[in-house]
């Protein structure tokens, strides 16, 4: 899959360097995939990625087996009761649980956007609802683990988009036009408007979310002009993000901004006046409870917590360095009760939060703050958004680069950089470099020692080739 997209990335290069880049790029990709498949293979088989059945089929299968369906019925009764814990301590329940745990039923997951997703999720939660006691803060995701991406396609797409804007398109790119302020969010809107599907879906959710609620409105409520139909707005938003290519939707949502006009446009993307803001700000834990009553919201929140959780073990702060997974599960929260958004139109820094506060938490203030922090101070999410918007990886903050993590990150970093000419997208490249490493030279390509001279490039290629053969002979 990665190899297929490769030729597109080379487009932005001058012909002189093109061949050289193709070779290096090819090697790096190959090596990257090789290393990853080797390191990732154990983890994949462990999580049962291949053999996990969807919950609808698993339930069906269980119902066909008399022994399983019998235990399943008992189990459901055990879980349905209000006093779940005492019920679970019951011997019959424990036996049923023990037997069922051996079956496929407990490993079942649902696919994102599958047919009958709702029923599948319902089936999932009916089995798993009581089993996460104690671990109530984070619930495991009912969705299949995403195929690991490690800042791949979306980020390459981002650079492809910026390539379109700077090179091939007829219109003048804003960022190289000195008479106009650089506004990547406006460029993303243009890209969307030029795509028939994106334009239609965008217009659809905007008109739904801005339409005043007229049906069923009593004439006694004259000030109904700014009250929209939130449910329909949410549905239209979910539809937009489900049906439109991420290359367009992420562009609108995660564009990188240098000024307030741009950041305000970014904040307005989801029509916050209807989909986000409310008259009152509920307590976050209360909002979480509301969310957990809804199968979709609960599942997507659990998925967000799974894919955007911070980990100290990687430079990116994300699990498996998978930005794509985090952005995808963040995006899927939009249009639920837990809809997140940018808090303000600050451009140098941004804060993301659902529409809630931790005031009035009582003795649960700590838990509430912890919950809110996963949105507001989530470095994984922040890095993922920045990496998308700026078309390259954010540099690790102050910590020194650890030797072990470096080879993992390097290849893709080069990929995203080489897709652009030095002078092509001055706004995007330099603002990225300036934002992450204050005071560093704007040209990130020179910064990278591996890219410094043709000689070193050739040397690296040779080294890679050697390594490649070594790996191959090892695997044989």
């Amino acid at each position: 899959m990665t190899a297929r997209t490769a030729p597109f990335n080379v487009r932005g290069l001058s012909i002189r360097n093109r061949n050289m880049y193709i070779y290096i790029y090819g090697f790096l990709l190959f090596l990257d995939e090789l290393v990853f498949s080797m390191s990732g293979s154990s983890a994949l088989s462990e999580s049962g990625h291949q053999d996990s059945m969807d919950c609808l089929r698993a339930t069906e299968k269980c119902n066909q087996d008399q022994k399983c369906s019998h235990r399943f019925r008992i189990m459901r009764q055990c879980l349905a009761g209000k006093d779940r814990n005492t019920m679970l301590a019951n011997r019959d329940c424990q036996v049923a649980l023990e037997v069922l745990q051996e079956m496929a039923l407990f490993d079942c997951r649902c696919k994102r956007g599958m047919k009958k997703e709702m029923q599948c999720l319902q089936s999932y939660w009916s089995i798993n609802i009581g089993l996460t006691e104690g671990e109530d803060f984070y619930e495991p995701s009912p969705y299949e683990p995403m195929t690991p991406h490690r800042h791949s396609d979306a980020f390459r797409l981002a650079s492809i988009i910026s390539g379109i804007h700077s090179g091939t398109s007829k219109g003048q790119p804003h960022c190289s036009d000195p008479s106009r302020p650089c506004n990547p969010c406006l460029d993303a809107t243009k890209a969307c408007n030029l795509n028939e599907n994106c334009k239609r879906q965008r217009s659809n959710y905007i008109s739904t979310c801005t339409r005043a609620q007229t049906q069923g409105q009593q004439p006694s409520q004259p000030q109904s002009q700014d009250s929209c139909n939130r449910k329909r707005c949410h549905k239209a938003l979910r539809q937009f993000f489900e049906r439109v290519d991420t290359q367009y939707s992420y562009g609108l949502l995660f564009c990188s901004c240098k000024d307030q006009a741009c950041a305000e446009r970014r904040r307005q993307t989801i029509v916050p006046s209807c989909s986000y803001q409310d008259k009152t700000k509920p307590n976050c834990l209360q909002l979480r409870n509301t969310c957990r009553l809804d199968v979709h919201c609960r599942s997507r929140l659990a998925d967000f917590h799974t894919n955007c959780q911070m980990t100290p073990h990687s430079i990116s702060s994300c699990l498996n360095d998978d930005y794509q997974a985090c952005l995808a599960s963040y995006t899927r929260l939009i249009g639920t009760d837990m809809t997140p958004n940018y808090m303000d139109s600050g451009h140098s820094n941004f804060t993301i939060s659902p529409w809630c506060t931790c005031r009035g938490s009582g003795n649960q203030e700590e838990e509430c703050e912890k919950f809110l922090q996963d949105f507001r101070e989530n470095t994984c999410l922040r890095n993922a958004i920045q990496a998308f918007g700026y078309g390259s990886l954010p540099k690790p903050d102050p910590q020194p680069t650890t030797g072990s993590a470096k080879p993992d990150l390097e290849p893709t970093a080069i990929v995203s950089k080489t897709t652009m000419e030095p002078g092509e997208e001055p706004c995007i490249i330099s603002s990225c470099a300036n934002l992450n490493v204050p005071g560093s030279p704007p040209n990130t390509r020179v910064e990278d020692p591996r890219n410094s001279s043709p000689g070193t490039k050739a040397l690296t290629a040779a080294l890679m080739l050697g390594l490649l053969f070594a790996f191959e002979s090892l695997t044989m």
């Binding site: 506004n183 406006l186 809107t189 243009k190 408007n193 239609r200 217009s203 905007i206 801005t210 305000e264």
Partner: protein, 110 residues
């Protein structure tokens, strides 16, 4: 010279497109968003009916008064027969607007 003239002949009525900003539509909205504006353009000579030919002839023979003549069209016009769905955009004051029937979807000689 003849070949040059042949080349110059306009294409038949069809849908064309141009990229414009919403401000350039001249509807009073101020927005830098770019949209694709579809419009109808081209000749309708091939779809002239007997009506058109007859009317043209009447005009040539001065059978209509000057006032009547000016307003009678003896050739079909290339016009939209259907319009695209609504287009929504964010203006420069961060307000959303939706405009209807702004872009042609199909053209015809009517």
């Amino acid at each position: 010279k003849r070949t040059k003239r042949a080349k110059k002949r306009a294409k038949p009525c069809s849908l064309r497109e141009v990229e414009v900003t919403v401000s350039q539509l001249g509807l009073g909205y101020k927005s830098d968003e770019t949209i694709v504006f579809h419009y109808c353009s081209g000749r309708c000579t091939t779809s002239r009916r007997n009506y058109d030919l007859s009317l043209a002839n009447m005009k040539r023979l001065q059978l209509l008064t000057k006032d009547q003549k000016d307003k009678a069209r003896h050739s079909p016009c290339c016009r939209p027969t259907a319009y695209e769905e609504d287009i929504s955009f964010l203006d420069n004051d961060n307000k959303y607007h939706t405009i209807q029937e702004i872009s042609a979807k199909a053209c015809g000689c009517v």
